[in-house]
């Protein structure tokens, strides 16, 4: 059981940290925040009816992405405002569906009770996300730097952005297993931020993002075993400690 949760946590963490290095750019970081919260109603439904919480959250994340996109197109409000709206609505729906005393797993995750089939599936999906991210990495980096330059290179910006967003949706849906809907954004953002402090090149940046994403859940879950505290928040706090250290040793 412990080994399974370590493997699942590490592989999801690694994939999240890797794709996180693409999302840390100014234009993308705001996407990460609300997505975990969007997953909450899905997690609530999954807990109520007893199916996999990642499977429950995935359609809600996709739905939420479409909503954010439509709102942004229609209202031209700053993304911060939309984030706040989405965040609050996701939480509210979740609490309507789920009594608050049952909400813990939805909010902060419960990786320690992962089954074998579930684990296999999560690891395979994580590897899939890593492979797909590697494939589109340079293109997305160029699109994030300048859509104009990307278009001049005849990169199909829409197609790559769609693959990228789908990738993010998958990793957020997986992430809720490890740290819950409230903390998923941190799973994606903190390892990347740590890595940025220490990197001078894109290669270092992406590898270190993956590495810190890999290490944090392992240490978090082990700490959870010895302290009996929940693994999700511990994982995030381990990740934060790496970040604090990296800020001190920033190159």
């Amino acid at each position: 059981m412990l080994l399974l949760s370590l493997i699942v946590g590490a592989s999801i963490g690694c994939a999240a940290g890797y794709i996180g290095t693409l999302m840390l750019s100014r234009r993308m970081s705001l996407v990460a925040g609300p997505l975990g919260h969007l997953a909450l109603p899905g997690i609530a439904l999954a807990l109520l009816y007893g199916f996999d919480i990642s499977a429950g959250s995935f359609p809600f994340i996709i739905l939420g992405m479409v909503f954010i996109w439509l709102f942004e197109l229609r209202t031209k409000l700053p993304p911060e405002a939309l984030t706040a709206i989405v965040f609050a609505s996701g939480m509210s729906i979740a609490f309507l569906l789920l009594p608050i005393e049952q909400a813990e797993a939805a909010l902060i995750g419960d990786i320690t009770r992962v089954g074998f089939l579930d684990a296999t599936f999560s690891v395979l999906l994580s590897l899939f996300v890593i492979a797909l991210t590697k494939m589109i990495y340079k293109k997305i980096a160029l699109i994030s730097i300048s859509e104009d330059l990307a278009r001049c290179e005849r990169i199909d910006v829409r197609r790559y952005s769609l693959i990228y967003l789908l990738n993010i949706a998958i990793i957020v849906a997986l992430g809720v297993k490890v740290v819950g809907g409230l903390l998923t954004a941190a799973l994606v953002a903190i390892p990347a931020a740590t890595s940025r402090n220490l990197s001078k090149s894109l290669v270092e940046y992406s590898i270190l993002g993956c590495l810190f994403g890999f290490l944090s859940p392992i240490i978090g879950i082990l700490l959870s075993q010895s302290t009996n505290l929940p693994a999700g928040p511990l994982t995030i706090l381990v990740s934060t400690s790496f970040f604090v250290l990296s800020s001190i040793f920033k190159r």
């Binding site: 340079k138 730097i145 104009d148 001049c152 090149s201």
Partner: protein
């Protein structure tokens, strides 16, 4: 190389460019002169196919376009070495080093982090980046002057040299008059509507310039940008 007829561009309901026609021949250096907000950058981006337009833009089928943007503010979001920046375009390290040399940068720069470059160096990197894959047309948005290191060639003499060596056609956006006179053989004065076009010494006179830049004052008092 390029033929533009009755080009109009409307963005968010505002007419940015109105009824512009001109022609570019191979090897020409064309400057697009005008005050801020005159639609110069929009024109370049429209020629690149980024914005929708009315009218006709006809590139020679053999045209391969390189584009040097004015700024890349988001590039600092990624820790990235110069050679990795070239890899985003599928350019090998060796080719990147060769291109960097050709714009007057030393070989050691390819390992440097983009964030550590001076603005002059960064502009040269952008020029080298645009020159990769061997374009025959270069679109350049506001080359900046006065940032060049002493004793080295200026960005303009660099461009003039490239123009000669490769018979590269160039379209430059600028608001610097001296550049227009010294460097280009054709100028388009643009302030939403085209105000003049032709050989700089023939078409530019105080009256045209007053009209061109006088508009700017009016423009700024109406809209607070």
């Amino acid at each position: 190389m390029l033929k533009v007829e009755k080009l109009s561009v409307v963005l968010d309901g505002e007419e940015i460019i109105k009824d512009l026609s001109f022609e570019v021949k191979e090897g020409d250096i064309i400057t697009i002169l005008g005050p801020n907000g005159a639609g110069k950058t929009v024109l370049l981006k429209t020629l690149l196919g980024i914005f929708p337009y009315q009218g006709k833009i006809q590139w020679n089928p053999k045209a391969r376009i390189g584009y040097v943007p004015q700024r890349l503010p988001f590039i600092k979001d990624f820790p990235m070495s110069v050679e990795e920046f070239f890899e985003l375009k599928g350019i090998s390290r060796r080719d990147a080093a060769r291109l960097l040399n050709s714009v007057g940068l030393k070989t050691g720069i390819s390992r440097k982090c983009i964030g550590e470059l001076s603005s002059g160096q960064f502009q040269r990197v952008l020029v080298a980046w645009a020159l990769a894959k061997d374009p025959n047309v270069l679109l350049f948005d506001e080359p900046t002057t006065g940032i060049d290191i002493k004793g080295e060639e200026t960005i303009y003499s660099l461009l003039a040299r490239i123009n000669k060596e490769k018979n590269l056609t160039m379209l430059l956006v600028t608001h610097d008059l001296s550049v227009v006179y010294k460097f280009s053989n054709y100028v388009i004065c643009l302030n939403k509507c085209p105000l003049c076009k032709g050989r700089p010494r023939e078409v530019l006179n105080p009256k045209v310039l007053e009209k061109l830049y006088g508009e700017e004052v009016k423009f700024y008092t109406h809209h607070k940008h």
